[in-house]
């Protein structure tokens, strides 16, 4: 825990592996949120709350 993090170095890109994992995980989560079906409960909503 007290040792420096490993770094990923590719051209001008230099980023620590922990940060790379977090950003990669966020991108994966964002993609899943776009693709995964959303459960619909009850009837379809109308335009309430949408001026």
């Amino acid at each position: 825990m007290d040792t420096p993090a490993a770094y990923f170095h590719w051209g001008f890109i230099l980023i620590s592996v922990p940060n790379l994992i977090v950003i990669g995980g966020m991108i994966v989560l964002f993609a899943i949120a776009l693709i995964a079906p959303f459960p619909h409960g009850g009837e379809e909503g109308d335009d309430v709350g949408n001026k």
Binding site: V22, A33, L34, V48, G49, K51
Partner: protein, 220 residues
């Protein structure tokens, strides 16, 4: 929303005589701009059925945990959060809920960026969100400086040169623990909370922005 409200029943174009009572004028303005069916809706437009719209509310949930754990930490003090098992648990709870707060805030930002959430009169909502993001970074920074351990000293000493170089070191001194702690537990959280409430009220007032190209035709 009372049945005796003088604002109800008036035609939209008619101009009611200006009341001298500021409480009446305030109540009428709230009735006009913040009706309860917008503030607490029970139905949403069909396009809100996506996990992308969940990121914002998860961010708020994380913020609630940040504030709750922070209240406990500020009440018990640094010796407790470093030396006791329960204190270390709350310290970790505070740290990890902040991580989730930032992760989901950025995911919410991505979602709103790609759907251009500032359209149709929602620019102020977007800009308040940007300000919340900025203040959150400052709050996290002062939090790292408030840990009362070697890591916070390391951050403070290394940041001091940068703050001096930016010309703000005289009135924002990262070596001044009292100032950093006061900002972290009082001023900045209050600012974030007020702006988050304003952000949510604005979202609820105007509703969620429509998709850019819902029917494959012209932009709305």
């Amino acid at each position: 929303m009372s049945a005796t409200s003088s604002s109800e029943g008036a035609s939209p174009g008619a101009t009611a005589p200006e009341s001298r009572s500021w409480t009446l004028r305030l109540r009428q303005a709230i009735d006009r701009h913040l009706p309860m069916d917008h503030l607490l809706p029970d139905r949403q437009p069909y396009y809100v059925g996506s996990w992308v719209y969940v990121f914002g509310v998860v961010t708020i949930a994380a913020l609630a945990w940040v504030i709750a754990s922070g209240v406990v930490l500020s009440f018990m003090g640094p010796q407790w959060w470093h030396d006791s098992r329960v204190g270390r648990f709350f310290n970790s709870l505070h740290f990890w809920s902040v991580q989730l707060f930032f992760i989901f805030m950025v995911l919410h930002l991505w979602g709103q960026y790609f759907m251009a959430g500032w359209r149709s009169g929602r620019a102020a909502t977007w800009m308040i969100g940007v300000i919340i993001f900025g203040i959150s970074i400052l709050t996290a920074f002062t939090g790292y400086l408030s840990q009362q351990n070697f890591a916070s000293q390391f951050v403070a000493i290394n940041a001091k040169d940068a703050m001096n170089g930016a010309g703000i070191g005289a009135f924002f001194s990262v070596l001044n623990f009292g100032q950093m702690y006061g900002l972290h537990v009082m001023l900045l959280p209050i600012g974030i909370t007020i702006l988050v409430v304003a952000h949510i009220v604005m979202v609820r007032t105007r509703g969620v922005v429509k998709p850019i190209d819902p029917e494959g035709g012209a932009r709305p």
